[in-house]
Amino acid sequence: MIATLTLRERRIGLGLSVALAVLGLAMAAAARTGPMAVHGGMALILGLVLIFAIGGALYDHPEQGEDRLTRYYDAPTRFGIVMTLIWAVIGMGVGVWLAALMYWPEATPPWPATSFGRLRPVHTSGVIFGFGGNALIATSFWVLQRTSRARLADAVSPWVVLIGYNLFCLWAASGYLMGSTQSKEYAEPEWYADIWLTIVWVTYFVLYIRTLARRAEPHIYVANWYYMAFILVVALLHIVNNLALPVSWTGAESFPVWAGVQDAMIQWWYGHNAVAFFLTAGFLGMLYYFLPVRAQRPIWSYRLSILSFWGIVFFYMWAGSHHLHYTALPYWVQTLGMTFSVMLLVPSWASAGNAIATLNGAWHKVRDDATLRFMFVAAVFYGLSTFEGSFLAIRPVNSLSHYTDWTVGHVHSGTLGWVAMIVFGAIYTLVPRLSGRDTMAWPKAIEWHFWLAVAGTLVYVVALWNAGITQGLMWRAYDENGALSYSFIQSVEAMLPYYAARTLGGTLFLAGAVLCALNCRATMRTAGDRVDATDRPLAAQPAE
């Protein structure tokens, strides 16, 4: 990492590391005890490690010459992929453990930090933000440079984004273990972590726009529209949903400025669009680049890309209220949410269809190449999950499915089947190239991973469909005397076989992810020296 920086950039990096250490010290000193002090300590340690790493090597490496500007800057992408894989194993590992606890609750250790309620956000944040977020940032740097034919606008800010973002993820996960949470789903971290993420995110946006401004291609490629929508709208959602008043500036606790029904609506406007813009838009950006590249086929329809992009940006933002059917939210808002959720099927299937039609003429590659098959399956699951999503948003369907495991199954068909599959497809495309090789170190392990992932997803999703529908039907069943047929605990008991099956599904999926991490490690350790002469910026780089 340090060798890729010029002396001036190393000095800037050193300055920023000192600033991080000072910030950490200030936080720890102000808070003295509690999660904020621990988090200050983490920032301090990270700052010190970076100071020693950069300061110690300040003059060790030969100065980077002007020729660096004739290459893309891929060191941050490589680091981002490594973090993606680390968070995948942590986040999915915790998920499998939690799944096991649901039919084996006695296994809960008797101390607070590891109880189900505290570990659950470690799983969700670990996979969404740790695994998904790092994959998005890492691939966005790669895609942005290739589709713009320009090198990243500078070499320091990508590291600020990635290291800052991972510090946020670490703060989030460790905060939950200490009981520090806002309780807003997928927005649990407290106010100072939210401010930190905002700073990181602005840096990310500025870097993106500056690099786009240098592009040698007149048109901005469709993948970048999606990455940009991801960056912009996530910022909007994050800021509005997390507005809070801290109890004191020296402690982690805070109260949201929103209350009651307004808070519920804003939370699910955030929550559903975290799905839309974090877990969909960014990954569609990934799909729109890696699928055509891997298949060596152009995107099937340009018009369909435009239609689906603006459809997704517009319709999704209305759909959040379908999380609140039959609640105290006004009826007309629920109806709007339902209507737009159904209409969302059009742009969603336009995207999925566009991706699948792109494979026309390359089906033999789908058959032979497990990496491309990951991307194909991702597109199929994207289509299936969005259909299921529109269906579940219909009010009477939702009356059965809501609060049950059907929702959890639906989410996992999207996250395992679509999000994780497209990430693995992108990783298996990127890692050999980042390592100067033609193939992964263990090509056959990709095939194993593919079938583990598909089997795991299917077992998981089918188990929770059954669980959710059973639950929903038991809750609303009446006997001939007009009394409820089942007590709540009977519906819990009925879930146990499904919970066991979902644990098995999750374990298979986790095994595949571990295999992927090991395969990437082996590939990165046996790097070759293959250089692709055409893979370089075209844009004239300003002299620095």
Binding site: L101, M102, E106, T108, S115, F116, G117, P121, S180, T181, Q182, S183, L212, I220, M228, A229, L232, V233, L245, V247, E253, F255, P256, V257, W258, A259, G260, V261, Q262, D263, A264, M265, I266, Q267, W269, I306, V313, Y316, M317, W318, G320, L324, H325, T327, A328, P330, V333, L336, G337, S399, H402, Y403, T407, W475, R476, Y478, A483, L484, F488, V492
Partner: protein
Amino acid sequence: MLKLHYNLEKISMGLVGAIIAVASVGGIVEIAPLFTIEQTVEIPDDLRPHTPLELAGREIYIREGCYACHSQMVRSLADEIDRYGPYSLAAESAWDRPMLWGSKRTGPDLARVGEKYSDAWHVAHLIDPRSVIPVSIMPAYPWLTRPLETDLIEGNLATLARLGVPYDETMVENALADARAQARPDSDGVDGLLERYGEDIAVRAFDGDPSSLTEMDALVAYLQSLGTLTDAPYEMLAEETR
């Protein structure tokens, strides 16, 4: 249209502006009216805010992630009304920051759980759920018997007051004393507590031991308060079914 887009694709800040504009519409239309229309801002006369002890319990409920498996929102469906009680009104959570409506029922809804079970049942259930419900899959929370940390109680009330929850100055000043008094029925502070929060609040040694103030006291006090802050949902349902 296509030509327009063809040109838009060449201007990065044009795309940025268009994305923000297009994405903002839905939120504005659905959220802004919620701050003004009667259905979402009307407050029943008898609604009371949580007492300091209940509020401390609510913070424990949040800390332990109870909301991940328990909702607090009875939907307006016949089976939910039969199982849990009157459907939830917006007004009931008008002062809840954050709201805890939840999204999943691995365990049952808790919006109407207040005073349905005894304090002793809750204590036994939280320490070891399977001691009272043999097939329960709820995790055990044995550490809740530790003393309640009281440093933040006054600050919490003050912060909520600044955000508009009707805690007046004497409530904020007496927050700590009120928290202690609610779990100690024979203490001097009880009169002031009842004067500030109403005669209907539960004043009991929730964990069975009046000599110490524990996290269990706070959490059980909170659970016993759920659904009891106003009678409005019961009146509304009675009116509709008449």
